[in-house]
């Protein structure tokens, strides 16, 4: 150790570096939000939300993409929520300790780290081509389900694990079957946590552009989809589409689309946090 004042100086340098590092993140976030807000706000009005894409920037809107996103996310929720709960219940309440269970554990953890574009190609090869569903909403939702399922299972397992063991033992002692314990004791206790995790996973799905591009490509959708077998586009693809157009007005439309996307995400995250806070207090006792 050299003299004391140089050690003090090093300490101050580390603290300063830490403050700078945190500030970079904060300032980046502010710049990112302001960049989109300032570019997009002039285009954001009721007409933008209720119009179809157009060659003329001031008439273009996001309606088909908005509907596409609602369809895809709605179906994804319908598929992934029960599947995620079932898988998590099996792994926590039923699974025997053997190689197959270990394989499933390892596999789910690894799947959560696979890039989303790989899921897009899986969906393209499996649902669109092999099963001949076509480049339609259903194929998009099935792909999205596979993409977010690992995340839902992981968070659902954590909620299930946090249910005290005594609850289960009490019910078993009264003669309840495994399914009765799982469905009537464990699930109600773990439900808010599972719901929060699912909403957060779905909000990730809403923002995903890459896998949806693999499925839907650059469909020029001039109608609002009315069935799962319609072709579609989603908000992130529409934004990407506008960014790629040469005229600067379309970039500003992209920014308006970004604002819509961020507002949707903000609402979903607020709901998730609300559910978490509401039920957390009760869980403490």
């Amino acid at each position: 150790m050299n003299n004391l004042s140089s050690r003090h100086l090093k300490g101050r340098l580390l603290l300063a570096a830490g403050v700078i590092a945190v500030s970079i993140s904060l300032l980046s976030l502010v710049a990112l939000l302001l960049d989109s807000l300032l570019d997009g706000l002039p285009y954001l009005n009721w007409g933008f939300l209720t119009s179809y894409p157009s060659r003329f920037p001031d008439q273009a809107g996001i309606l088909p993409a908005l509907f596409g996103t609602i369809w895809v996310v709605g179906l994804t929720a319908l598929f992934s929520f029960p599947l995620g709960i079932f898988a998590a219940l099996y792994l926590e309440e039923y699974a025997p300790k053997n190689w197959l269970t270990d394989l499933i554990h390892l596999n789910i953890a690894n799947l959560a780290g696979v890039p989303s574009i790989v899921y897009g190609l899986l969906g393209l090869g499996l649902f669109v081509e092999a099963l001949a569903i076509g480049r339609v909403i259903l194929a998009g939702a099935l792909t999205m389900t596979l993409l977010i399922l690992p995340v839902i299972i992981i968070t659902a397992r954590e909620s299930i694990r946090s249910v005290p063991k005594e609850y289960r033992e009490g019910a078993f002692a009264l003669g309840a079957t495994r399914w009765q314990v799982a469905s009537q004791i464990v699930l109600p206790e773990a439900f808010p946590g599972i719901l929060t995790g699912t909403i957060l996973a779905l909000s990730r799905a809403i923002g995903e552009a890459a896998p949806m591009i693999a499925i839907a490509a650059l469909a020029y959708v001039r109608f609002t989809p009315t069935s799962p077998f319609d072709r579609f586009t989603v908000i992130p693809i529409q934004i990407y589409n506008w960014i790629n157009m040469p005229r600067v007005e379309f970039r500003e439309l992209a920014a308006a689309g970004i604002i819509v996307l961020l507002v949707v995400l903000l609402v979903m995250n607020s709901v998730a946090i609300f559910i978490r806070n509401k039920y957390q207090k009760r869980g403490v006792s």
């Binding site: 003090h8 300490g11 340098l13 580390l14 603290l15 830490g18 403050v19 590092a21 945190v22 993140s25 980046s28 976030l29 990112l32 960049d35 989109s36 599947l83 079932f86 898988a87 099996y90 039923y94 394989l103 499933i104 596999n107 789910i108 799947l111 780290g113 696979v114 890039p115 989303s116 790989v118 899921y119 190609l121 899986l122 393209l124 090869g125 092999a130 480049r135 596979l146 399922l149 299972i153 495994r178 399914w179 923002g207 552009a209 890459a210 591009i213 693999a214 490509a217 650059l218 934004i239 990407y240 960014i243 790629n244 970039r251 992209a254 920014a255 970004i258 996307l261 961020l262 995400l265």
Partner: protein
């Protein structure tokens, strides 16, 4: 009477076992997903490797599948991916680690409760938004610094991707640092260490396995990131070391071809699966390496 009770019990038993099978099927779906990825990718890539030799694919230095003369060497795409990844890691690791040290060793509870949600927001923003930010905000600033730089370039995409993965490095590393027991810190203080010495010489090495895991995860995320590079890095596959040039990554190529709806069975269609398979294998190797390193350096307290 006894018979009816027995029947009821038997029915319940059947129901229980059916339910268990259904639950098991849901859990096994994940394994099927992996097999599906492997099966589909190998099948489609097989069509590709019938026409192009694996040697040419893995060692060729020209990637021109869309125009004559066609060349199918993936190295330019791999090089583009690596360049953007290196830039983003060079941004995210120092900033993320300093953030983690600051939050776990220096910040007050109140400040931590303020900063962490902001980082979570940063992690939750869709990548297409980061792409827009790179193209319309960061690139013009960089162009003022490097006037010869063109609009689509690796540097801008890499920098913004780095910002995107800061939260991944910082939150996992911070978790690892917070888990270091206070007795270690107190021991060091008792020997006359100062705060920064405790942070850098005690906490950092003790949390090493978590820190390595976070960096590996960040690398794997950067390699697979798609929208930022599709928007801001350009679409010219090229072997270059100059980050100011337009390049193309593996993910960027997949997006470019996907947008055009290449017909099933065409060579373009098969290329995206060959490139996707390469990407998948790379990510699996990185993740496995991460798990192995984490285990190797794992210390439990």
């Amino acid at each position: 009477m006894k018979n009816r009770a027995g029947e009821k019990k038997r029915a319940q038993k059947i129901r229980e076992s059916l339910i268990e099978k259904a639950l098991f099927a849901s859990a096994a779906l994940s394994v099927l997903t992996t097999l599906g990825i492997l099966g589909i990718f190998l099948f489609e890539a097989f069509g590709f490797f019938k026409e192009v030799s694996i040697i040419e694919f893995l060692t060729g230095t020209l990637w021109t599948p869309l125009f004559e003369p066609k060349h199918f060497g993936i190295l330019p795409l791999v090089a583009g991916t690596l360049m953007v990844t290196i830039i983003s890691i060079a941004v995210a690791v120092p900033i993320g680690l300093l953030t983690a040290i600051f939050l776990s060793e220096y910040a007050s509870d109140r400040l931590r409760r303020l900063v962490k949600p902001v980082l979570e927001v940063l992690a939750g923003i869709p990548t297409v938004v980061y792409g827009y930010f790179a193209l319309t905000y960061v690139t013009p600033i960089l162009q003022q610094m490097f006037p010869q730089m063109i609009v689509f370039n690796a540097l801008s995409a890499g920098l913004v991707m780095g910002i995107m993965i800061i939260p991944m490095v910082s939150s996992l590393s911070e978790d690892a640092m917070v888990a270091v027991p206070n007795s270690l810190r107190e021991g060091a203080y008792a020997l006359g260490s100062q705060k920064h010495e405790v942070a850098l010489k005690i906490v950092l090495p003790s949390a090493l396995s978590g820190i390595i895991a976070s960096i590996i995860l960040a690398i794997s995320r950067a390699v697979g990131e798609t929208m930022i590079v599709s928007i801001a890095a350009g679409s010219t596959p090229k072997l270059t070391l100059n980050p100011l040039e337009s390049i193309q990554t593996m993910t960027g190529y997949i997006t470019q071809i996907s947008l055009g709806e290449a017909p099933f069975g065409s060579i373009e269609y098969n290329t995206i699966f060959a490139v996707g398979l390469t990407l998948f294998v790379m990510v699996v190797i990185i993740n496995t390496l991460g798990n192995w390193l984490t285990k190797k350096y794992w210390r439990s307290y």
